[in-house]
């Protein structure tokens, strides 16, 4: 189980095919005063810049925004990686966007955001990998585990497409394998 001595300072959630409804469901059930910032790296169409954050905002209890480069990460916010940009975390706790090469055919890359969180926040990073159709995110989540952060993989039986969580499970043993309902319960338990 997670260590209460190390309260998490950042949560990174990644997903691809089928993840919109899972993320939307999680955000709609989170405690409205959930303080830990959440970074969302979701595979999305490169040419469609609007709609996703608006869609997630509809039911979210927490403000969802697509950050500008160099924007400071604040508590009680959800930061969605903008389309066609990778999203990293700078060492001063601000967002760093990038148009560098696609990774696993993806920009944003889930691996990159997770690895960045692992490097900056180490054991205070919590990574969650959701449903998806490619292996992006698996190495990034392992990087969180390697830095002694906490890792959760969506239970493959609850996934629309289980390639992404199964890729992570082939690489390492995460701290938890949870259904979306259990992920919500877990997150809300961090700030009762």
């Amino acid at each position: 189980m997670h260590n209460p001595e190390h309260p998490y300072k950042i949560i990174v959630m990644g997903g691809s095919a089928g993840s919109f409804s899972v993320v939307s469901g999680i955000l709609s059930k989170l405690n409205p005063n959930f303080k830990i910032p959440i970074l969302l790296s979701l595979h999305r169409l490169k040419h469609v810049r609007s709609g996703l954050s608006e869609g997630l905002s509809l039911n979210s209890k927490i403000k969802v925004l697509e950050p500008n480069d160099k924007e400071k990460i604040e508590p009680n916010r959800v930061y969605l990686a903008p389309s066609n940009y990778h999203m990293f975390i700078e060492i001063d706790g601000s967002i760093a966007l990038s148009t560098e090469e696609s990774h696993n055919h993806s920009r944003p890359s889930i691996d990159y955001t997770l690895m960045s969180a692992a490097y900056v926040y180490r054991e205070k990073a919590l990574g969650i990998l959701l449903t998806g159709a490619n292996k992006d995110g698996a190495k990034g989540l392992k990087s969180i585990a390697d830095h002694r952060g906490y890792t959760i993989v969506q239970d493959p039986v609850t996934c629309d497409i289980d390639t992404m969580p199964k890729s992570a499970l082939q690489l390492f043993c995460p701290d938890e394998i949870l259904s979306p309902t259990e992920i919500v319960q877990f997150l809300n338990s961090l700030q009762p």
Partner: protein, 276 residues
């Protein structure tokens, strides 16, 4: 290659001793992954080996080239190009001689602009200039070389912008290389100089600097963007990436032409005096 903060500082300090290689004010997260990418590219495993290799001209040229992030595609953000075409390109200040794209990395931005100006019959009116300190980057641009892996997205973007499918008429294949047609390439020029140098083009009516300042730290981004703004003719325009911000110190002064596409105009008359 996993580089720590001290490694990065040691490397950038060594690089800064050479012309056009001062990366000390770049964002640390960018330096960490870009240097790791370059180390992997050359199969270098030790910081000392990299620093030693910097004494070779060819190696420095390659590193300079690789430190630049390639443009992702042509006509990235079609809505931006539409806005530029409809709101800016026919309204540049009369004295405009130059349109400038500093630190152009792979030609996609300047070629997109050249095609739009060509289709508007405005191409010969201005010098369409880009700059980059890397000789090999400028050579590629002068030859009209395009990254084949970006071609499908570029074509789709063009179709979204122009609502017609004739992008293919601008490109040709020669010996497996994708090239832009001479009638477009001949409209642009690439000069080898760094954005940090003082030889900026004069009488510039439009500067396009999209997704370049995201790799700088905040201080350098503000310094460079302010310098570019000051280099514009009164009434000239500047465009930055859709997820970037102009420095607070000049934000009040700017006229917003398109808020979502981040296109701004320098006023004809100064609104306040804090920018001499």
């Amino acid at each position: 290659m996993n580089l720590g903060i001290n490694d990065i500082r040691e490397i950038t300090s060594a690089m800064s001793a050479y012309t056009n290689m001062d990366y000390t004010e770049y964002a640390l997260s960018f330096l960490k992954r870009r240097l790791a990418y370059i180390f992997d590219h050359f199969n270098i495993r030790k910081v000392g080996t990299f620093i030693e290799a910097l004494s070779q001209n060819d190696f420095r040229e390659n590193v300079t080239r690789l430190m630049f992030v390639e443009n992702t595609e042509m006509f990235r953000d079609p809505a931006f190009w539409r806005s530029l075409r409809d709101n800016v390109l026919l309204k540049l200040p009369e004295e405009t001689q130059n349109i400038w794209l500093p630190d152009e990395t792979s030609g996609e931005e300047i070629f997109s602009l050249a095609i739009i100006l060509h289709e508007m019959n405005q191409a010969g009116k201005y010098k369409i200039l880009c700059s980059n300190p890397s000789n090999s980057i400028c050579e590629n641009i002068r030859e009209g070389r395009l990254n084949a892996s970006h071609l499908d997205v570029s074509q789709t973007n063009y179709k979204r912008l122009e609502n017609r499918d004739r992008f293919i008429q601008y490109i040709k294949k020669e010996n497996g290389t994708i090239l832009l047609h001479e009638n477009i390439v001949s409209q642009v020029s690439c000069e080898e100089f760094s954005i940090n140098e003082n030889n900026k083009p004069v009488k510039t009516g439009l500067i396009i600097f999209r997704n370049k300042a995201i790799y700088y730290n905040t201080k350098k981004a503000e310094k460079i963007l302010t310098g570019l703004y000051n280099n514009l003719l009164p009434g000239g325009y500047i465009a930055i990436g859709v997820k970037e911000k102009m420095p607070l110190s000049i934000e009040d002064e700017l006229i917003v032409i398109d808020k979502s596409e981040k296109i701004y105009q320098k006023p004809l008359l100064k609104r306040n005096s804090h920018h001499a």
